[in-house]
């Protein structure tokens, strides 16, 4: 395995074209091929909320060490139309190349760079020769690209065979497209391109998937048996995946009439004893806030994924942001314990989804997995998931045929821990009364001041126990130097670019640390405090304007940030932006 990039051991591709041209698909096929060839990959897409037409692109980065995000620059541009060349030429590294259709007319002024390589390929002509649909031009370009970087066409063809399994004709045509693109580039451009991605000949057995995929798999592994969700970008792929796999997952998967219906259905299923989940984005979460409080009051364990996108309101549906943190933490009237956990990569998406189910059931609280578009729509290669790592813990859920206690069953029994044992509906000898009104231990409505206080305190005791457990769960992760001159602090999807920035700083000899806050509620005040202590200058990195994590840290752990790197145009941070900011701060 050999990866030679221009500046480091990574190579970056950008596939660009129109919506509806299968850009993301092409980029991820390439990613998967490179992964099978031994490389680590990361791929992210960028597209407007448009079904056909409009510019779309996908950036893919590969390396012989783990890649956490896209790079700042592009080494090889696969331009499926002229617009892509014009829009992205300035992102090309010196010495980089452009693969494009040979018939594209580029007037002199349009490409002012003499420092890059032009690789015209007869994309259209080859597709016509094969007799395939025009979307197959992508595959020709992929063939050419892997030829230029010295990769293996057979691995690419294998990925195509697997992806289109069962659709013989399509596979064959695509294989030919790869070959012809590959051969054309080999013959005409030989070894001229300086980036190399030579496979090791051994598939290391990794998987490449999105955060959405990983959350869906985490839910399946956690024993979620009921999923109801109303479509909303960027969370819809979880619905699509689970709907397609409902038999394998043994899951009831429903698209109901609204987000209100989605969460109340999930709540109904959870009340009946089933692990259940929904997913949405900000606007849908707004509609769920009332039912979130219902889950809290009835102590029903529901799990909910939020995929953030830029607001307010409809905002930019297909872009990314981290501006719903404080809303998520405070949503719904009244005060109650909840879990809010923010994974930072695909593996965390999987394991933390499992943890969310466990915490929801152990503490009988709503649990929210707070993600964003960039995290859940980007692909990353990762080690296969270990199902045993988290396990299933249903807490005080009693699964028995009959209630044999002398004492009548009390749904809201006042206990020291604050957690009242649950039983399955239908258990002989016991009925279960849940109530959105303040209630007695049996669940009957009450406004008696003492009873009301006792029940409220019970719920808060749960919250304290939950907080203790979370402090033990690795709620804050620290990467990089022990004796740091600078500490970058972030959450969720900024983890990727931040880790890449760390790599760059390390190369420069800068001692830097990255602190990832994973649990947002209950807030791991102590762990955050410990992670920030002695970290040198503190730089907060968030994809919002008001430094929302910064507020939580200030409030709970007492640290303030002099430096804040904010990005609010919907695009992910590039590692170089963080790197530059660190340099500025130092």
């Amino acid at each position: 395995m050999k990866c030679i990039g221009f500046r480091d051991n990574s190579v970056s591709f950008l596939v660009g074209g129109q919506a509806g041209q299968g850009i993301t698909r092409s980029g991820s096929l390439l990613g998967k091929a490179l992964m099978r060839g031994g490389f680590h990959v990361f791929g992210a897409n960028d597209y407007p909320s448009v079904i056909r037409g409009s510019h779309n692109f996908y950036v893919l980065r590969a390396s012989d060490e783990e890649v956490h995000s896209q790079a700042d620059t592009v080494d090889l541009l696969l331009a499926l139309n002229k617009e892509t060349i014009l829009l992205h030429k300035d992102e090309l590294t010196e010495g980089g190349g452009i693969i494009y259709d040979e018939q594209t007319e580029l007037s002199k002024g349009e490409l002012e760079r003499g420092d890059i390589n032009m690789y015209p390929v007869p994309l259209n002509a080859i597709v016509e020769e094969i007799g395939g649909p025009s979307i197959m031009r992508n595959t020709v370009a992929l063939g050419a690209a892997i030829a230029l970087v010295g990769f293996d066409a057979e691995i690419m063809k294998g990925v195509i065979s697997d992806t289109f399994a069962g659709r013989g004709g399509i596979i064959e045509m695509n294989h030919r497209a790869v070959e012809m693109g590959f051969d054309y580039a080999r013959e005409n451009y030989g070894d001229g391109f300086r980036c190399r991605l030579e496979p090791s000949g051994e598939n290391p057995g990794r998987i490449m998937l999105t955060g959405n995929d990983a959350v869906a798999l985490g839910a399946i592994q956690a024993g979620c048996k009921f999923y109801a969700a109303y479509p909303m970008t960027p969370a819809s792929p979880v619905l699509h995946y689970l709907a397609a796999k409902d038999m394998e997952a043994e899951m009831v998967v429903i698209q109901p009439e609204s987000e209100i219906a989605a969460l109340t259905m999930v709540l109904g299923a959870a009340y009946a004893g089933v692990r259940a989940m929904t997913a949405t984005s900000g606007g849908g979460f707004c509609l769920m806030t009332e039912a979130l409080g219902l889950a809290a009051m009835t102590e029903t364990p529901v799990v909910l994924m939020i995929g953030q996108r830029p607001g307010p309101s409809t905002g930019m549906a297909t872009y990314s942001a981290q501006a719903d943190l404080l809303f998520t933490i405070h949503a719904s009237q009244g005060e109650f314990p909840r879990v809010v956990v923010a994974p930072g990569d695909v593996a965390e998406c999987f394991y933390l989804t499992m943890e969310a189910f466990n915490l929801a059931e152990k503490y009988q609280v709503p649990a929210i997995i707070l993600t964003d578009k960039y995290l859940i729509e980007s692909h990353k290669s990762t080690e296969p998931f270990d199902p045993g790592k988290v396990g299933i813990d249903r807490g005080d859920l009693l699964i028995v045929d009959e209630w044999t206690d002398a004492e009548e069953y009390k749904r809201y029994k006042i206990t020291e821990s604050g957690v009242s044992p649950r039983i399955l509906l239908g258990t002989r000898g016991a009925t279960v009364l849940a109530n959105s009104n303040e209630h007695t231990e049996y669940g009957y409505t009450t406004t008696d001041p003492e009873r009301v206080m006792a029940m409220g305190e019970k719920r808060f005791r749960k919250g304290n126990a939950l907080k203790k457990e979370v402090e033990d769960l690795n709620p804050v992760k620290v990467y990089g130097a022990e004796d740091a001159e600078v500490t970058i602090v972030g959450w969720g999807s900024t983890k990727g670019p931040a880790l890449e920035a760390l790599k760059m700083l390390r190369r420069d000899g800068v001692k830097a640390r990255f602190v990832q806050v994973v649990y947002m509620a209950p807030f791991p005040a102590e762990a955050v405090g410990a992670a920030l202590k002695g970290g040198g200058k503190l730089l907060l990195v968030e994809a919002n304007r008001t430094a929302q994590l910064g507020a939580l840290i200030k409030l709970n752990s007492g640290f303030t940030f002099e430096h804040f790197l904010s990005k609010v145009d919907g695009r992910p941070f590039n590692p170089g932006e963080i790197y530059d900011k660190v340099k500025e701060v130092l």
Partner: protein
């Protein structure tokens, strides 16, 4: 066998003396007793409003949810455990104002659940505002000059939404209501019983006297509950004569048949150990 006694709870009843809800509660208890249901296998789902207190007064499983959300919760409980008999109790406001968005959708899915609408044509618990079923001209706190809108008609709404069992009962006719409840509960599919429920506190028009003079029984007039167009016609009747009974019923596949996984044990009883996603991971490798 469960008895009326078994269905009593220690909670003090706080409905107004004379409220139609007493009739509904009693008829429902009788239906449960007469059907021989076990109280552990019955789940009551209630919305917010006077009707919502049902879960306090009947000793079966219960969940008192938020305003308007009886149907999605009830639908999911039934999917989670088909061994349970799931009965929703909603107010007219609960079902047809804030909850309207769920009504047609529950109906077209056809889960095997019952929906009882405590239709007092008024907002009871919030002290007497207009409800969607309030008839034109009714003076309420929020419509002091009288309601302007055409009232929502639960019967034709249900028919237009392809509900498979559509009935109306009257809280003042316990025997009839009990039979309707029994038929609705045992009907395989989504069964709505809209119950005319006098609210003695706020609705001074649609009183026991009002209904006594007007209510007649569809079954006594040879109504054919399989004729949809006839059901629409009867459903539009509201004046000197107000029909009660079954307007329409038709059996069609129930919602759970949509889900292959529900062919096995009830979801709630499925074991969670031994789940193996390795097969699923292959497509990502």
């Amino acid at each position: 066998m469960v008895t009326m006694q078994d269905l009593a709870t220690p909670a003090t009843n706080t409905w107004c003396p004379g409220c139609g809800n007493f009739g509904i509660l009693m008829a429902m208890k009788r239906a449960i007793v007469q059907l021989g249901l076990e109280r552990e296998k019955v789940v009551a789902v209630t919305g917010i409003g006077c009707h919502g207190k049902m879960t306090n007064y009947i000793k079966v499983n219960g969940i008192h949810v938020i305003h308007g959300r009886v149907l999605p919760v009830a639908t999911a409980i039934k999917l989670a455990n088909r061994e349970l008999t799931v009965i929703g109790f909603a107010g007219d406001g609960d079902a047809f104002n804030i909850g309207m968005g769920h009504f047609s959708h529950a109906a077209r899915r056809n889960p095997d659940i019952t929906l009882v609408v405590h239709d007092n044509l008024i907002y009871g618990l919030t002290t007497g505002q207009t409800s969607p079923t309030s008839k034109r001209g009714l003076k309420t706190k929020s419509t002091p000059r009288g309601v302007f809108e055409v009232a929502v008609n639960p019967i034709t709404q249900a028919l237009a939404s392809d509900a498979s069992f559509v009935a109306r009962g009257y809280a003042g006719d316990m025997r009839h209501l009990t039979e309707l409840f029994k038929e609705a509960i045992t009907f395989p599919g989504f069964a709505m019983v809209d119950v005319l429920q006098p609210c003695v506190a706020w609705n001074r028009i649609n009183t026991y006297d009002f209904y006594k003079e007007r209510v007649y029984k569809l079954e006594e007039e040879g109504h054919d509950p399989t004729d949809l167009m006839k059901a629409y016609e009867r459903g539009r009747e509201w004046g000197d004569r107000i029909p009660i009974g079954v307007f329409y019923k038709v059996e069609r596949p129930v919602y759970r048949e949509n889900f292959p996984v529900l062919k096995g044990a009830p979801l709630a009883r499925q074991k969670l150990d031994g789940i193996d996603i390795s097969g699923l991971l292959k497509e990502f490798a």
